[in-house]
């Protein structure tokens, strides 16, 4: 981990879905609407609870997810909300595959993009296990949350965390945030909310889901892709929040795939040469007879 890495702790139990973070992100980073005409003409309605953008994109670097869970007879319900963004992974798939050095690790441990280096090859889009980074058709480059690099350089926190009215988003040193997260999980467990666990780092918490369709299932802290500098306190399985249960680096396939290609190429070469040799032997046999 980058020494003194900065990041965010996202406590989903405190999120009220107000979307102040989305607005702050849009405003600070001067991100345009995806489709202004759709908003004017009332076509932008996602019909998915209060979700207004649907997913992260090149112009939506933060997205508040709404998960509504009802019991079969609809007598019991719970509403899960989560403010999502780039996780600034310790082992970042996007950064690993970038062929131009446009994606880079900052002095804060976050993953930023040199916009003047990006060639718009979009390889990083398919490599991110979280579906975070997106291609911007207007600029021909990729965009995602950059952890407010410009603000961090001035000693300010991230715009989203500054605007969060419930402290669901907390910016700080990742080590401090992990201590804070561990204490928060312990506090929730003491209150009987044994659902709480950390997605991003393994801080040793174990529990069981107390509500919703997955009630009774075990949950435990998860360290994924070497750790996430933006990590989450969740109350249900990761896929309920649209997070992968076992995100992986694309590089896991590199050596085996190259190996299979090498063996295949060798077999093809031998087969090809054998075709000429066989023909030569047939000719020789024909001449001899």
């Amino acid at each position: 981990m980058t020494a003194n890495a900065k990041g965010m702790f996202v406590d989903t139990t405190l999120c009220t879905g107000c979307k102040a973070c989305q607005v702050a992100c849009k405003q600070w980073n001067e991100l345009p609407m995806d489709d202004e005409a759709a908003v004017r003409e009332h076509r932008a309605f996602t019909a998915n609870s209060y979700d207004n953008t649907g997913h992260l994109s090149a112009t939506n670097w933060r997205h508040v997810k709404f998960v509504e869970q009802f019991s079969e007879d609809r007598s019991d319900a719970r509403w899960l909300m989560m403010s999502d963004s780039c996780k600034h992974c310790e082992q970042a798939g996007c950064l690993e595959v970038c062929p131009t050095g446009a994606l880079y690790r900052t002095q804060f441990g976050s993953v930023d993009i040199h916009q003047d280096v990006c060639i718009g090859c979009r390889y990083c889009v398919g490599a991110c296990p979280f579906g975070v980074i997106d291609y911007n058709k207007r600029t021909g480059r990729v965009n995602k949350c950059i952890l407010c690099q410009d603000r961090l350089e001035e000693g300010m926190g991230t715009a989203c965390s500054k605007s969060c009215p419930t402290s669901s988003l907390t910016y700080g040193r990742v080590d401090d945030l992990k201590t804070m997260a561990a204490a928060r999980v312990r506090e929730l467990h003491a209150q009987g909310k044994t659902d709480a666990y950390i997605y991003g780092w393994d801080l040793g918490n174990r529990g069981a889901i107390t509500q919703g369709p997955n009630k009774g299932q075990a949950v435990a802290d998860m360290e994924v892709v070497g750790g996430l500098n933006v990590f989450y306190l969740l109350l249900d399985k990761p896929d309920v929040y649209g997070l992968p249960a076992a995100p992986q680096l694309p590089q896991r396939n590199m050596a085996p795939s190259a190996g299979v290609a090498l063996i295949s190429a060798a077999v093809l070469g031998v087969t090809g040469l054998a075709a000429f040799r066989r023909r030569r032997m047939e000719q020789a046999a024909a001449q001899a007879s």
């Binding site: 595959v97 579906g131 190259a258």
Partner: protein, 313 residues
């Protein structure tokens, strides 16, 4: 649930680029084989085919560059941009990025395609200078073996590239590099079959038939392994049944039927095919059908991941 979002590539352009570059690699592979293990007639056919790889690679490079969001920055793939200060040295090399390796491989292979092109010019009496040097280069067995390694690496590159991702289907197997290189070789033998037929090179046609049979069998084994692999993982849906971008029909009818089964059945059974009015006989018909199948393979595999997405994660 898909967690990866659609990269918005111009898919027809990428399909065409992969087909064209793969064909260039396959044809070069055949030229190398003919020069290493063939006779005078094989080298005659190889020399005629020498006109193909160079121009095909130029087309592939243009398609690749045009598909970039910032085409005029394509040199950032080779030379480190001054703005990417974190990267050491003047040459851009991210060892964990197959695209970076592929750029160098394609660059070197593209340069090597000049040799058969010049040899083809020499063969047709259109090379005004350096004929002796070109002949020595083009017929040097060790040199051609090394060059064919770059051709096969070019053929495999796109497969390894799609393997090293988090896209559905592509990343669910280790076989993509092997499949791509096998279909490149199939394309090369198919093109050689057409050339041998048109040049009435009967001896070469015999070797091409054997080569096509063997290569189709290898591709068949790899496709069977791919389908088995995906079925075991429960992710074969797009290839088996997806109608999005006609993925399943192009895969089964095109890649499996035309590129693999057709040459095995026709050549294996010795069936006589002849398009009489065009004076085209069995091998040329098989070659043309296989090329169509190789194109279908590129299309179906490229679109399989996108068919599996079904929306944003």
């Amino acid at each position: 649930m898909p967690f990866v979002i659609e990269p918005h590539w111009a898919n027809w352009m990428l399909t065409l680029e992969m087909f064209v570059a793969g064909l260039a690699a396959g044809v070069f592979f055949f030229i190398a084989l003919a020069n290493i293990g063939g006779n005078a007639e094989d080298r005659e056919v190889a020399a005629r085919l020498g006109f193909l790889p160079g121009p095909l690679m130029v087309v592939a490079a243009i398609l690749l560059t045009v598909d970039l969001g910032q085409p005029f920055r394509f040199m950032n793939l080779i030379f480190t941009s001054p703005a990417a200060a974190e990267r050491p040295g003047p040459l851009m090399l991210n060892p964990s990025s197959p695209m970076n390796w592929g750029t160098y491989i394609i660059f070197i292979f593209g340069a090597l395609t000049v040799i058969p092109f010049l040899d083809a010019l020499r063969h047709t009496g259109r090379l005004p200078f350096g004929a002796v040097a070109v002949e020595a280069l083009a017929h040097n067995r060790v040199g051609m073996a090394v060059a064919s390694a770059f051709a096969l690496a070019t053929g495999a590159y796109s497969g390894v590239l799609v393997n090293v991702s988090n896209q559905n289907v592509w990343a669910d197997t280790y076989l993509m590099g092997g499949l791509y290189v096998a279909f490149s070789a199939l394309g090369g033998f198919a093109a050689a079959g057409i050339a041998a037929d048109r040049m009435r090179a009967r001896q070469t046609a015999g070797a091409v038939r054997s080569g096509l049979l063997g290569t189709a069998a290898i591709a068949g084994v790899l496709v069977a392994l791919l389908v088995g692999n995906l079925v075991a993982l429960g992710t074969a849906g797009p290839l088996i049944a997806a109608m999005t971008a006609l993925v399943a029909p192009t895969f089964w009818v095109g890649a499996v039927g035309l590129a693999i089964l057709f040459p095995i059945v026709v050549i294996g059974s010795g069936a006589r095919l002849r398009v009489a009015q065009l004076q085209v006989s069995q091998l040329a018909v098989v070659g043309a059908v296989v090329l169509l199948g190789v194109l279908a393979f590129r299309w179906s595999l490229l679109h399989s991941a996108l068919a599996a997405l079904g929306g944003h994660g």
